[in-house]
């Protein structure tokens, strides 16, 4: 009886040990699986998110031009100082904007001036504002807010930014192809047809040099078709970004964060702006 019991106890202990070992091994395996699953995503997060964001958060130079030349003792960050700094940086940005606009006036192409302070988008032809559009909604990338007081960024926007690519939900030129009629009867029939109306929802994004994107959206609620097109446009924008990220990973580069400004204007204004801007149109930006 004792023997039997002793054998049973030994077996149970052996089974427990084996079970414990297998449980530990199983847990280690599970942890390894979780690491395998999460590690690449974590690495991608560091490479694509943390590093570019960290770059944009670096300290920059003092606002005063004269103070750059000699060592400064940082003044107390009281309200007067903050106000003065804000005024200074505002004036510097204004100067950059007007300089860019003057440069734009010297170009043959139709340009766009976006004044985010006064909420006005303006089409300029040789320095003449031909259409002023009220901006109804503005969304600015956090990156721009961080960079706007940096000297290098101001330098970049003190010249017109040039359109490099664009995506839109409407054609640039609504071309309709017509075959020449063979005789006058056919011509008369064609002339009797009513004109097709162009009811389109207007969403477009302009990509400028300097990694800046300007998304112009119509303020009016779009039709279901327009909504679908806009969703597709956003998807395309995200894919474009993803492609850039993959390119950066492949070439071991830290990807640059695209600075994005989104503005909403009326449908008519949006259409006029999109159709007016040529392939290498310039942009003057007031922040």
């Amino acid at each position: 009886m004792n023997l039997v019991t002793g054998t049973d106890t030994n077996d149970t202990a052996e089974r427990d040990r084996t079970g414990k070992r297998s449980r530990i091994l199983h847990r280690v395996g599970a942890i390894a699986l979780v690491i395998v699953a999460v590690l690449p995503a974590m690495a991608a997060f560091v490479f694509l998110v943390a590093l570019p964001a960290g770059r944009l958060s670096q300290r920059h130079q003092p606002l005063s031009q004269t103070s750059v030349e000699r060592p400064t003792t940082p003044a107390r960050a009281d309200s007067t100082t903050r106000q003065r700094d804000a005024q200074l940086s505002g004036l510097r940005r204004d100067e950059a904007f007007w300089n860019a606009r003057v440069e734009l006036a010297k170009q043959e192409t139709i340009g766009l001036a976006v004044d985010l302070v006064d909420s006005i988008a303006s089409l300029d032809i040789r320095g003449v504002p031909v259409r002023n559009c009220k901006i109804r909604r503005i969304e600015i990338s956090n990156a721009i807010r961080r960079l706007q007081d940096r000297g290098d960024f101001r330098g970049r926007i003190s010249k017109p930014l040039v359109v490099r690519a664009e995506e839109a939900t409407l054609p640039k030129e609504p071309i309709r192809v017509t075959e020449a009629p063979k005789d006058t009867i056919e011509a008369m029939k064609a002339a009797a047809k009513p004109l097709p109306s162009e009811e389109v929802d207007v969403f477009f994004t302009l990509y400028f040099d300097g990694n800046l994107a300007l998304a112009v959206r119509q303020f009016e609620k779009p039709s279901s078709r327009g909504f679908r097109r806009n969703t597709l446009l956003r998807l395309k924008e995200n894919l474009r970004q993803a492609k850039k990220a993959v390119f950066a990973i492949v070439h071991s580069q830290v990807p640059q964060h695209e600075m994005r400004i989104e503005v909403a204007v009326s449908r008519e204004d949006a259409k006029a702006i999109y159709r007016a801007l040529g392939p290498k149109a310039g942009l003057a930006l007031r922040l």
Binding site: L39, R59, R126, S141, I175, P181
Partner: protein, 257 residues
């Protein structure tokens, strides 16, 4: 059947019997997999982990810009070192003067004499003086029709954009019909200088030449004003045309966008 169920990686034990956080973590995902794929497909755990890894990686890559924006919103902003008060006030004065000067330079681009602005997207015009509108209304601009003649010849009827100048002013203009005018009506094209090429009364009382064969003129088809129907010229109502004709001189600027 029973053996199959026992060998399945996600159905070795009933959910209640599962132990450990890793199993509990993977259980719902495994459940989704079981629903999506056939219940008896055997997925080795490392394959499953790789699939999850790829999905997470794709999500991070796809939403990286958004994640960066969120990170930037959370991270403390870089503050510039404050400048000394004396230097700053001097800088402010200097900068204000500079900004005013550049602004003044920009404003000087606006023509002093009246000019015309044409919006081809919405088919509207504005006669401006000193940067303010003195008359506004509808017009007709290019139809964007691409006319194919069938003999490799084609024309796009669009109004050019940019800055132009009035090159010539004409009263009771006569239209010198180009080839396309005959082709689009299904008529034989007469030789250059033929009498059929000249038509009176169709361009209204006045015409302003802006170069490259484009005109600002009147129209017989007033019901089409406000629509893109022309062959590239700008058509106006008689009254508007008269005001514009009287206000614009040769050399006046026309801005078309």
């Amino acid at each position: 059947m029973a053996e199959n169920t026992v060998n399945h990686p996600f159905t070795k034990k009933a959910p209640a019997e599962r132990k450990g956080w890793a199993r509990r973590f993977f259980a719902p995902i495994g459940g989704v997999f079981r629903v999506v794929f056939a219940p008896r497909i055997h997925i080795p755990r490392f394959v499953f982990a790789i699939v999850v890894s790829l999905v997470l990686l794709a999500l991070v890559v796809f939403f990286a810009p958004t994640l960066r924006e969120w990170t930037l919103a959370v991270l403390p902003g870089p503050r510039a070192e404050a400048a000394e008060a004396k230097d700053a006030s001097r800088d402010i004065t200097r900068l204000t003067t500079r900004v005013r000067n550049v602004e003044r330079q920009y404003v000087s681009f606006v023509p002093r004499r009246p000019y015309l602005v044409v919006d081809t997207s919405n088919n509207r015009f504005s006669l401006m003086s000193g940067g303010k509108p003195i008359r506004q209304g509808v017009c007709s601009t290019g139809s964007y029709v691409l006319l194919k003649a069938g003999d490799d010849r084609q024309w796009v009827f669009k109004t050019p954009r940019g800055r132009f100048f009035v090159q010539q002013k004409e009263e009771s203009p006569v239209w010198h019909k180009p080839d396309w005018a005959f082709i689009e009506e299904g008529l034989p094209v007469p030789p250059v200088g033929a009498a059929e090429r000249f038509e009176t009364g169709v361009l209204g009382d006045y015409a302003l030449h802006i170069g490259h064969g484009y005109l600002i003129h009147g129209t017989l088809y007033k019901r089409l004003l406000g629509m893109p129907v022309t062959h590239g010229c700008v058509r106006l109502d008689d009254e508007d045309l008269e005001v514009i004709y009287k206000n614009l001189a040769v050399g006046s600027a026309i801005f078309i966008y």
